[in-house]
């Protein structure tokens, strides 16, 4: 199996297609990305793979905040992650099944009304 990582930002959908506080999943090459529009209208992107269940579901979690940090909670076992750094803030006393407990964070830009994800420019 070969993995393709587009070198540049890729458009995944129109900004207006996103609903505040809800996520969508997008395919960027072979990588699944969870994209969220928050209630301040900013857009955040993290890996769609949940480190604690191994299921590709992060886009279906609940957004929120811990202090000032915008967060996303996994829908499977409810771990909470920062949407800024990807750091796992609440592990629910569980260990990740896939390497790191943290989420990869991807760079997002809005270009001409399109949501652009850049896998290489993340982290």
């Amino acid at each position: 199996m070969t993995t393709t990582i587009p070198a540049n930002a890729v458009a995944v959908c129109a900004y207006d297609d996103l609903i505040p506080d809800l996520g969508v999943a997008a395919l960027v090459g072979d990588t699944q990305v969870a994209v969220f529009r928050l209630d301040d209208d900013s857009v955040r992107a993290v890996q769609n793979l949940c480190p604690f269940s191994g299921a590709s579901v992060m886009s279906r979690g609940i957004t929120g905040s811990r202090g000032d940090e915008p967060t996303i909670a996994s829908p499977i076992y409810k771990q909470v992650f920062s949407l800024v750094t990807g750091e796992c803030l609440v592990t629910m006393d569980k260990l990740p099944v896939t390497g790191s407990a943290d989420l990869a964070v991807y760079q997002v830009s809005i270009d001409n009304g399109q949501v652009m994800i850049n896998l290489a420019g993340g982290q």
Binding site: L27, S56, G61, A73
Partner: protein
């Protein structure tokens, strides 16, 4: 050296307590214990004997854990009577003639029911009220009579004390009439004074029980069949009866001790010192068979002092000297639903004592406090009709009572009641002898900050539970004192409990999360408060879970109206009301499962679960189910799940009501009702209870006359049997009672709190809930009814609503930029003819096989 042998004569409540207490502290196994009881049962809760009529069987009354009798150091011999004691040889002789030696002998023979020697007292149809067998025979007799006479069975109870009134309630609960005949001039002569007795009499007569005081029974006369037929009274009157219960008192069972030439009290009972020793250092006596020096050599017919004697004796055998200080005769009872309580010097026998009395002929309440001559120190009190102040006041006996004494007995709200702090020595739980001090110690020194843990650690509130509100209050006070905030906050965004937030949202009439968090919270919300608010909005307004900004509030289950599984796919459960389904619908389900390759399993709630549906497949699957006349089963929601039922009287030869029909009506009535946690309901068509309804939040069980409604049952982690809420009610009343129960639960429970813990922690417990629902004690019944009517009128199938809304449908896609592409990471293997998610090892194998191609 081997263990010493303790022989316990009697296997009642106090014997059980003794064995439990000895085993708990005898860590080195110094004693082996043999318990001999003449009844066929292990020790059971005799205090709760009357509840036998509402229970499934004797086993529900058994005391404590079976582990105690499985302990290798303990042997319980049921149906075995001890016939004689030989103190010189230190042996007992059993009824089969065999002998057992003892190192220590503990007499716990209790007492027996006593009936006056009136003619006819041994006629068929005359019963005592003392043992499980007594009440079982009484029940069988009333049922058999009922079948013959074709009118309500005429019942009479001789004796107007505690047991007599309980027996009258039991007769009424079986559909018989009840007349209480009391020789003294008032009811409950030991607990209440003349005015209290009058109040009690009128409250009980309002409930349909006839009361005759100051009347002696002179003869029980047989009818033509030789059964009990007529009661004759000393005043010349008579009364027709089909059943008579004698509850005229108890006598200590001291015959074994008398035969063994141990000293007995003037009014019976084995004489013991303040360590519960008889004159023979190897023989102890505990409970009702003992006449302790501390009690003036009188036998006491209460459980709490018996438990203390058991503990004192067990600890003495282990070398710890303790003293039995005599009985606290304080009692609080609920007789036929009427509170009766007395404590301390209730009859004001202290010289100069003052009585402060409140009497309300309309509500029927009678309350009295007894104070010292300067009205400063509390000496005792008496309550009839409303004993809500009892728990706080009883431990205050001998202490200065803050504020005006009348403030404690005036109806709530009519006077300011001072906040009191109990002294450390005050006994909070009189069943298990737990003081305020030891509860505080557990909180502060042992660091126990949770009510449940506090109960199991201190044993407070684990017997009758009446002191629980007080235990909770002490816990919270201590936590507040030590700076630990007793936080009811939902999460960092809302500093209030779910119940408060519910009222706040309802009163403010807010409908969106944005408005709610702006008004009552802070920040952006989280995975705890968002679903809670989503659920509250659904409970109040019953709009669609995806309406307005609500989609973002829902857990993935509610958001996609299916149950998420470990690999991120969903399971689909169509509603099958009452578990009844046509072959046509079954075939549609089978075809859907086949076409989408779904793993199929029958659920515990009598329906069918289809696993492995991908997000983007859900609408197509629903469409086919909806087209076939099915709808969402809400298996994913904190809401009504299923109403499980047996087939009932339409097919079953034992069924007495149409349970399947009732289950379908209930399921259609409450479908889609969002609540703090899931709700399960069961309906059984007869007392055999095949639907296991008492394991459900609401259980409805058919009776000959209608339906019994049980509430607060729970399976899962902490199983609980549901408790009786309403008896022999018709169909409309079943709906009304459940409507109100569920709505009260929805409004006042904590987040993720099932009905069982909710109803236990509700202030005043199930009695208070019953009062709200049946007597409208809070004046909110009309409101609860209207709320449920709104729910029923506005119900819509959530699946169908999504299918007809393109905007909501567009959220059901795998990838926003590749809506038709399935999640490529899903992998399955086949097992027993169906597929399941691959394990990590299987995934690695599948991936390796795939890359070779």
């Amino acid at each position: 050296m081997g263990a010493k042998r303790v022989v316990v004569v009697g296997a009642g409540m106090v014997a059980q307590r003794f064995v439990q207490s000895l085993r708990a502290d005898d860590t080195d196994g110094r004693y082996e214990i043999e318990v001999y009881g003449e009844e066929q049962y292990a020790p059971y809760d005799r205090v709760a004997l009357t509840s036998f009529f509402a229970k499934a069987g004797p086993e529900e009354l058994l005391l404590g854990s079976q582990d105690l009798w499985d302990d290798p150091n303990v042997t319980l011999h049921s149906s075995t009577r001890v016939a004689a004691i030989d103190r010189d040889a230190q042996t007992v002789t059993l009824d089969d003639g065999s002998q057992r030696s003892y190192d220590e002998l503990v007499l716990a023979t209790g007492s027996s029911a006593w009936a006056p020697p009136v003619p006819g007292v041994d006629l068929p149809g005359v019963f005592m009220y003392r043992t499980l067998d007594d009440v079982a025979q009484l029940r069988d007799w009333v049922r058999a009579k009922q079948a013959i006479v074709g009118r309500p069975v005429r019942g009479a109870v001789i004796g107007g004390g505690l047991l007599g009134l309980e027996a009258a309630g039991a007769l009424q609960s079986m559909g018989a009439t009840a007349t209480v005949v009391e020789f003294a001039n008032r009811l409950m002569a030991l607990q209440v004074d003349d005015s209290g007795g009058e109040a009690l009499k009128s409250l009980i007569q309002r409930l349909g029980v006839q009361v005759k005081c100051g009347v002696a029974t002179s003869e029980v006369v047989a009818d033509a069949d030789g059964n009990v037929g007529t009661l004759k009274f000393s005043n010349g009157g008579e009364q027709l009866v089909d059943v008579v219960v004698f509850a005229t008192g108890i006598r200590p069972r001291d015959d074994l001790a008398r035969a063994a030439e141990l000293q007995v009290g003037e009014r019976g009972g084995v004489v013991v010192d303040d360590a519960c020793r008889t004159e023979d250092p190897h023989v102890s006596a505990i409970g009702e068979c003992a006449a302790a020096s501390a009690d003036g050599f009188m036998s006491i017919g209460l459980i709490a002092p018996g438990n203390t004697m058991a503990d004192v004796t067990a600890h003495r055998l282990l070398g710890r000297a303790e003293v039995y200080f005599g009985a606290d005769t304080a009692t609080k009872l609920k007789l036929l639903g009427v509170d009766v309580a007395s404590f301390g010097d209730a009859f004001a026998t202290t010289p100069g004592a003052l009585e402060v009395v409140y009497s309300d002929p309309f509500s029927g309440a009678y309350k009295k406090l007894v104070m010292t001559d300067d009205a400063s120190v509390l000496l005792g009190g008496m309550f009839v009709g409303d004993a809500s102040a009892y728990a706080t006041l009883r431990p205050m006996v001998g202490a200065e009572l803050p504020g005006d004494p009348s403030s404690w007995i005036l109806p709530e709200g009519q006077a300011e009641r001072p906040d009191v702090e109990l002294p450390d020595a005050a006994n909070v739980c009189s069943c298990n002898n737990v003081t305020a001090g030891s509860i505080r110690h557990a909180v502060n020194e042992d660091g126990i900050h949770d009510l449940g843990e506090l109960k199991s650690h201190t044993k407070a509130g684990t017997a009758c539970g009446s002191c629980l509100p007080l235990v909770k209050k002490i816990l919270n006070t201590e936590l507040e004192k030590s700076g630990i905030e007793v936080s009811e906050a939902l999460c960092e965004h809302f500093a209030m409990s779910r119940a408060s937030l519910f009222s706040a949202i309802q009163v403010a009439g807010l409908t969106t999360f944005t408005d709610i968090i702006e008004r009552f919270g802070s920040g952006h919300g989280c995975d705890i408060c968002k679903p809670t608010v989503g659920s509250i909005l659904a409970s109040i307004y019953n709009g669609h879970v995806l309406a307005d900004d609500r989609a973002a509030l829902q857990d993935t289950n509610d958001r996609f109206m299916a149950n998420v599984q470990k690999d991120g796919t969903y399971s689909v459960v169509p509603r099958i009301p009452g578990g009844e389904i046509t072959p046509d619908k079954l075939m549609v389900i089978a075809e859907v499962a086949q076409d989408y390759g779904l793993y199929t399993k029958i659920t515990g709630g009598q329906r069918i679960d289809l696993f492995g549906a991908r997000l983007e497949q859900l609408p197509e699957i629903w469409q086919r189910l909806v087209d076939a006349g099915m709808e969402s089963g809400h298996a994913y929601g904190k809401s009504l799940r299923t109403v499980k039922s047996c087939v009932g009287s339409s097919w079953c030869r034992y069924g007495v009501q149409d349970s399947a029909g009732m289950a379908i009506k209930l399921e259609l009535r409450y479908r889609g009702l969002r609540s703090p946690h899931k709700i399960k309901v069961g309906v059984s068509g007869c007392a055999r209870e095949c639907a296991e309804a008492r394991g459900k939040d609401v259980g409805v069980i058919a009776t000959e006359k209608g339906w019994n409604v049980y509430v607060g049952g729970n399976g899962g982690f902490t199983p609980k049997h549901a408790q009786l809420l309403a008896e022999d009610v018709d169909e409309d009343t079943v709906f009304q009672v459940i409507d109100r129960y569920l709505m009260l639960y929805i409004r006042t429970a904590d987040r993720l709190q099932r009905t069982a813990p909710w109803q236990e922690e509700y202030e005043g417990g199930l009695d208070a809930i019953r009062d709200v629902i049946l007597n409208d004690s809070l004046g909110i019944c009309a409101d609860l009814d209207e709320h449920m009517t709104h729910h029923i009128d506005t119900y819509e199938d959530e699946w169908k609503a999504v299918l007809s809304d393109p905007k909501r449908l567009s959220q059901f896609t795998s990838f926003v930029n590749a809506p038709d592409q399935a999640d490529p990471t899903l992998m399955y293997v086949e097992e027993r003819g169906q597929r399941r998610p691959a394990t990590p090892a299987e995934r690695a194998e599948l991936a390796a096989a795939g890359s070779e191609k």
